[in-house]
Symmetry: C2
Subunit: 227 residues, 2 copies
């Protein structure tokens, strides 16, 4: 079965490169949601014709990152409070599953890696370095995912969390929530070390539920506008 997103296999085809590049641009916030994507401009920028660009847009639309309006072009999909409520439970369920599987499969070395990352992350927390914290945080979740050796799971997870990750979402986090998150991670590490799949699964699920509220606050609190 073709797994399209994760493996770093030969990327000879222009089309694949464009998909990746466009996805990056969206995630990095270079393209604003709800404003029409100018095909011609993008083509010139990429130095390609419209054919591969349009193919890429259609793939990204099927991933949910792009919205296509017939005869009226494409836009970066906006992310609403409703989308938050639809996606996070799913992400939570997938993380819970990954925790369960990981506990059965993970090696001591892999755990050691995650442990090292964890304490590095705690350090960033103590220094108040939010960006670096997020960076390592994401890496830890990716490591757990990788320990499942389930490429399909990884792909689906990445695709879903990609909808949430545009740069504007890595904004900020309240002090008490941050402390709580670190504590949750403390417990996640313990469960992983004990290879207690049930507990890890439960922890990850509530971790995600809390994160959802944290993201909601960061996104939809003051201005109320869907970004």
């Amino acid at each position: 079965m073709a797994t399209t997103m994760s493996e770093p296999i030969a990327r000879t085809s222009l089309h694949d490169q464009v998909v990746d590049r466009l996805r990056d641009m969206i995630v990095e916030g270079e393209l604003d949601p709800d404003t029409r994507i100018n095909e011609k401009a993008l083509c010139e920028r990429f130095g390609i014709s419209r054919t591969p660009l349009r193919e890429a847009l259609k793939v990204l639309a099927s991933e949910g990152l792009v919205e296509l309006m017939p005869n009226r072009g494409a836009t970066v999909a906006s992310f609403t409070s409703e989308d938050l409520d639809e996606t996070f439970p799913i992400i939570g369920a997938l993380e819970a599953l990954s925790g369960e599987i990981a506990c059965e499969q993970i090696t001591d070395t892999e755990i050691a890696e995650i442990r090292a990352l964890h304490y590095q992350m705690v350090l960033h927390y103590q220094k108040g370095e939010l960006h670096e914290y997020f960076q390592i945080n994401q890496t830890i979740h990716e490591k757990i995912l990788a320990a499942t050796h389930n490429g399909t799971l990884t792909n689906i997870y990445n695709s879903l969390s990609g909808r949430v990750s545009p740069a504007r979402f890595r904004a900020n986090m309240s002090k008490p929530r941050w402390a709580e998150a670190v504590e949750e991670h403390e417990n996640i590490l313990k469960a992983l070390e004990a290879r207690d799949g049930q507990t890890l699964s439960r922890l990850l699920k509530t971790h995600l539920a809390n994160k959802r509220e944290s993201v909601r606050e960061a996104l939809f609190s003051e201005d109320g506008a869907a970004v």
Copy 2:
């Protein structure tokens, strides 16, 4: 956020129609896995040019239904025993989640619908009508999913289960497994009526785990070949 697969919205664009039509052909087993898809032939059959067909192929590749080899064309993705082990736990987790959410949201009417379907399905079981049984079985799972009112969940679920559903997979089921499945469904209905999300979630998960073995047997037992 764009949800591409479920809503029955206006399908004006040729590209979307082709995606649906091709997906149907794959699921119905009209195209054999691992044999090259002839673009020209398909174009003539559909009465279209290669551009929209190739766009569709790329979308289906990102869904995992089609495999693209650079400069060597596309094939329907084959489904191996490993794919089975990768997909079913995910489908199980998604069904478990859908059960949980459904219990919180489902109306009495919706439960009544499912109950009616359930007993219709039991009847088909007693008559030994496998095909009709599968049909209603799938409808029941779809109804539970629909009760979540989570379009994203529905899309991901459909996309995943689409990889398993090609016609050849609806082959057969052993007598004892069939009896077991019906009993599981009996309990699923009970949990739903009691709106016991925890139990329903657990039941669905094991239901899927059992189904995985049933499918494996049907697929990879005698000839051993990956279809």
